[in-house]
């Protein structure tokens, strides 16, 4: 005789005295042990094609974000190293005679250092978001019934971080502006041109560091636009749901009570 507890394809049990579930619906009988038919019901890891494609698109977005941020972080770190090298070249050219010039170099180095730190923090936040989506997928495919993908959880995880990311970007933009103001003073430094090769290298590196910093600044402005747009979309959909579900106050309250 087939046991419906064990055989997922077994027909629903026929009982002359059905048990009623008073908690939910008087005509409804729920028993987690008896869960026949639908493959999605039996195995939560079998998902509809629509959901799968949505998940894949979401994953590609998180991966793309991480890639963009990684490239941006590499740019800032390279700029920092170039700056360090420029300082040594300027020293070699005997141009750092004045204390003010040394302070300028130190200031620019400090600013680039902070920009790099901010870029790394942003990368960590985005990496966590990306990992959350992808680790869930790996776990789900490895261990059935253990972990389920929740795009909602991932989405809310990043929503909570959007304000923080925006703050980091704005801070980066302010620091970049200070960098460019100070950068203009590089050319004021009295350079000893007795070493033409080193001098040319010095000028080239100067331009390169400014170029990399400029690219990163443009990239950050673009990112700020993207995150602001995302926040707007999220607010719009949440507002729409609030309008469509008038008793949301009560739903929130019963969650707190339980």
């Amino acid at each position: 005789m087939s046991n419906p507890d064990r055989d997922p394809n077994a027909p629903p049990p026929i009982d002359e005295n059905p048990t009623r579930d008073g908690d939910s619906d008087s005509r409804t009988y729920f028993s987690p042990a008896f869960t026949p038919d639908s493959p999605t019901t039996l195995n939560p890891n079998i998902q509809s094609l629509e959901y799968q494609s949505l998940r894949q698109q979401y994953q590609s977005v998180t991966r793309k974000n991480q890639l963009i941020q990684t490239v941006g972080t590499i740019f800032t770190v390279i700029t920092l190293f170039i700056e360090y090298f420029i300082y040594h070249l300027a020293k070699r050219l005997n141009s750092l005679v004045d204390r003010i010039h040394i302070l300028r170099f130190a200031g620019i180095f400090g600013i680039l250092f902070f920009i790099s730190v901010l870029a790394i923090i942003q990368l960590v936040v985005i990496h966590k978001w990306n990992t959350q989506v992808n680790v869930q997928t790996r776990k789900t495919s490895k261990a059935l019934n253990q972990t389920q993908i929740s795009l909602t959880r991932s989405q809310y995880h990043i929503i909570e971080q959007i304000k923080f990311i925006q703050f980091l970007i704005i801070l980066t933009l302010i620091l970049s502006a200070i960098f460019f103001i100070l950068y203009r003073n590089y050319y004021v430094i009295p350079i000893n041109t007795r070493f033409p090769v080193i001098f040319r290298l010095y000028r080239t590196l100067l331009r390169l560091s400014a170029f990399l910093c400029l690219i990163y600044t443009v990239f950050e402005i673009a990112q700020l636009r993207v995150w602001t747009k995302r926040l707007k979309i999220i607010n719009r959909i949440e507002n729409r749901i609030v309008e469509e579900i008038p008793e949301l106050d009560e739903l929130t309250r019963i969650l707190k009570d339980n």
Partner: protein, 96 residues
């Protein structure tokens, strides 16, 4: 206008319910499985499903189970699907 942030905890539950239904596709889902997957008490889940049904995000149909028993199966509506897809959409990167 009410601030959505105030209702965030409820909105997370709503989106989680819609996500579970999206996963199940046309098959729909038995009520208790939704509660289990989202981690809701039956009494709380009932309230949520009631509100979501009123908002036309989902439909609840009764299906026979066995000789005399019935159970309730929940299906997501096109409106519910749109709400979830819109929520998951990041900028215009996810074209729906």
């Amino acid at each position: 206008m009410a601030t959505p942030r105030k209702y965030r905890s409820a909105l997370i539950i709503i989106q989680s319910i819609l996500e579970e239904l999206m996963k199940s596709g046309r098959e729909g889902m038995v009520k208790t499985h939704i509660y289990k997957n989202v981690g809701l008490k039956t009494s709380v889940g009932e309230k949520y499903l009631e509100q979501l049904e009123a908002a036309e995000y989902l439909t609840i149909t009764e299906e026979p189970w066995g000789k005399e028993r019935f159970r309730l199966r929940v299906h997501i509506t096109t409106k519910g699907q749109k709400r979830f897809q819109w929520f998951i959409q990041l900028s215009n990167e996810l074209e729906m």
